[in-house]
Subunit: 406 residues, 2 copies
């Protein structure tokens, strides 16, 4: 923790004001005073400075109040054009790019269904750079107006350094992908786990709104775990976010009992591998995308394919085991399940839903509520934007918080 000086004090309060305007805006100065327990003087000074910086702007209309007497309130809101940011998500089979404004509204997005899995790093960087430049151009913005970029990908990431320690997408370890992109595009680049972006998005706009503690489990090609803990994204000691795939589970189906990494049982990649075998045996080709594959899984299970059902059930139970352990540790009031694999249907979901309460410790069982979040391509993009915007808001100590539903 830093020592305090007037500058820090100002930064803290300025950030709070920004944050309240983002969450509850349009909002008047008096209301900000109430929410933050700051004096009108301070609020006026800070909002004045923010208006001068064009980060927020006043709006005359809409100042309704019950007894509409007295001087009308001047509502303040974020200036959507104060900054623009780019969010990028890398997955094994696609690159997605989105441009948002200062309110994390998506202005333009672009999906490239390209298999980047195991491509050389410079090639991936090329693809990302092209995608970003194209998307920014489509949004009718010059690169100079882009304040920053946030890129999410699966793996072990040291966010602070923009370093990818390890990822299923990269053949190499310890890739400084953040600095490399920053160099290419000439803008600040944040690197983070894809699931952390979704976690932040859920916090600002989704099921995590109003909650300072919740957990997101994403089940795509890789498994991801995002933890919101006391309003901050939880990162392990080295700044590494925890990797759900590295958790160990017990296999309790009889044939091969033993300890395995969760990613070997329940990830999209693992399920795909097991299903590919099955499909090939039956003379079917492998579907091109994870989404298609999951649709195929569901068809098969509904068609009575026992083997496919077993694969799905094993995955669901293993996930349940892991989630129950996580609940025991973090006691989150809500667990959000997300990811393409959930489209595999009830064959996977039912065992998962049943296992979690069964294995959760009795004292905590009533605490965690399980929510399944239909995956929207836009969710993560807003998350990436939010992650970058949080930097721009100038947070003195980290995360911000959820937006009010309006």
């Amino acid at each position: 923790m830093k020592t305090a000086d007037p500058e820090l004090m100002r930064a803290i309060n300025r950030f709070h004001v920004m944050d309240v305007i983002r969450r509850y805006g349009p909002i008047s100065r008096v209301e900000i005073c109430e929410r933050l327990q700051l004096s009108p003087t301070t609020v006026s000074a800070i909002t004045g400075a923010l208006i001068d910086d064009a980060l927020i702007m006043p709006r005359q209309e809409g100042a309704v109040r019950d007894p509409a007497r007295g001087r009308p309130r001047v509502m303040l809101e974020l200036n959507p054009e104060a900054a623009f940011v780019v969010g990028v998500k890398l997955a094994p089979d696609q690159i997605t790019v989105a441009v948002t404004n200062f309110r994390a509204d998506i202005l333009e997005s672009l999906t490239l269904p390209i298999r980047i899995d195991r491509q050389p790093i410079p090639v991936i960087a090329d693809l990302v750079e092209d995608g970003v430049r194209r998307c920014v151009a489509d949004a009718d913005l010059p690169m100079a107006r882009i304040a920053g970029l946030c890129l999410g990908l699966p793996g072990l990431i040291v966010q602070s350094a923009g370093l990818c320690r390890q990822s299923p997408l990269f053949g190499e370890r310890d890739v400084a992908f953040g600095p490399a992109l920053s160099e290419r595009l000439g803008i600040p680049v944040l690197l983070d786990t894809d699931v952390n972006l979704v976690t932040l998005a859920e916090h600002w706009f989704g099921h995590g709104r109003g909650l300072d503690d919740f957990m997101v489990v994403s089940i795509e090609h890789s498994l991801g775990l995002g933890i919101m803990h006391r309003g901050e994204i939880f990162r392990g000691a080295s700044g590494l976010s925890p990797d759900l795939g590295d958790l160990l589970v017990q296999q309790h189906d009889a044939e091969r009992a033993g300890i395995e990494r969760l990613s070997a049982v329940a990830s999209g990649a693992a399920i795909a591998a097991k299903l590919h075998d099955r499909l090939r045996r039956d003379g079917e080709g492998a579907p091109p995308s994870l989404r298609r594959l999951m649709a195929r899984l569901r068809e098969r299970v509904e068609g009575g394919d026992r083997e496919a059902a077993t694969v799905a059930a094993a995955a669901g139970e293993a996930l349940g085991f892991a989630v129950a352990n996580l609940v025991a540790l973090f006691a989150p009031p809500r667990v959000i399940l997300a990811g393409t694999v959930l489209e595999g249907g009830e064959a996977l979901l039912r065992p998962l839903r049943e296992t979690i309460p069964r294995l959760t410790p009795p004292g905590l069982g009533d605490i965690a509520e399980i929510v399944v979040q239909g995956w929207e391509e836009t969710t993560w993009a807003r998350g990436a934007a939010a992650m970058m915007l949080r930097e721009l808001y100038g947070s003195p100590w980290g995360t911000t918080g959820p937006a009010e539903r309006r």
Copy 2:
């Protein structure tokens, strides 16, 4: 997070100065300036106030410096008599009480080998009250000079409320033991998990010194898990500390495969239960204390008792599994193993030591260093003192940090 005002600013800096003096004291004002990057003016003002409050005191001697020229430094150090606190630890078979001064030096301690397990709550409270009053009297202090008491016990504790949600020591749930004791003794009482006290003690004085991230696994009657995360004791969402015993493990010994709570395999209580059967069968009486029991376990294993060895090995492996999972989540640079059960010897320790690196994810394997801490009765007592002192230091946001070895 609070909004900032000059008062908070002062509180932050004042706390920092206190903390630096505790960690590195005796220390001169200049050195404080260097460490905290505060101006001499500020440091002088703050130390002046602290001296006025008799929390710290100057000391002329010992102001050595390489080229011993110029005005000699006035060293500042904590005033050991600024406050006194009491630490209490409850275990199923004993109550331990210690009185410490403002530097967490133990002045007087007292161990009552009483089985409190399942006694009615008021009886336990009586015993604690008596023990505390006696120990304070032995330290030649009137109760009025005791600034507070911190009590550690196994179970699920909501520290902020002094509430014991659940404990192996109490027959009831949701016992407001903190307020009850506070009422009886007329002093502030903090309630916390016993392992959190040890964790804080390790941070201030032990193997966690200088580390902002580490984990403590305590293996006594119950299993305990203490996590130091970014210099703060990690608590789950509801303020509950995670309970290691609630973690799930796979039993991979053939006879009864399946999912079990770790506490059913590796806790002192579980081992004791299994061993009692064995001892009774052989016509031996059950040893009175956990420590004795563990000695017996070791004798047996060294004497070639296969069944005892199996019990120990199963416990070790299950613990290893759990710890490996925790390492995957928190990536702590160090894991401290502590607790009476470790005195059970290599039969338990070896499998534990072997399992952890085997199951730790490859990317993190080199990160976590495993340390076995010989259990000292004094450790937790200093922890309890530290926990209470931290409050007295007036921390604006939580924990402090390690002391410098001198």
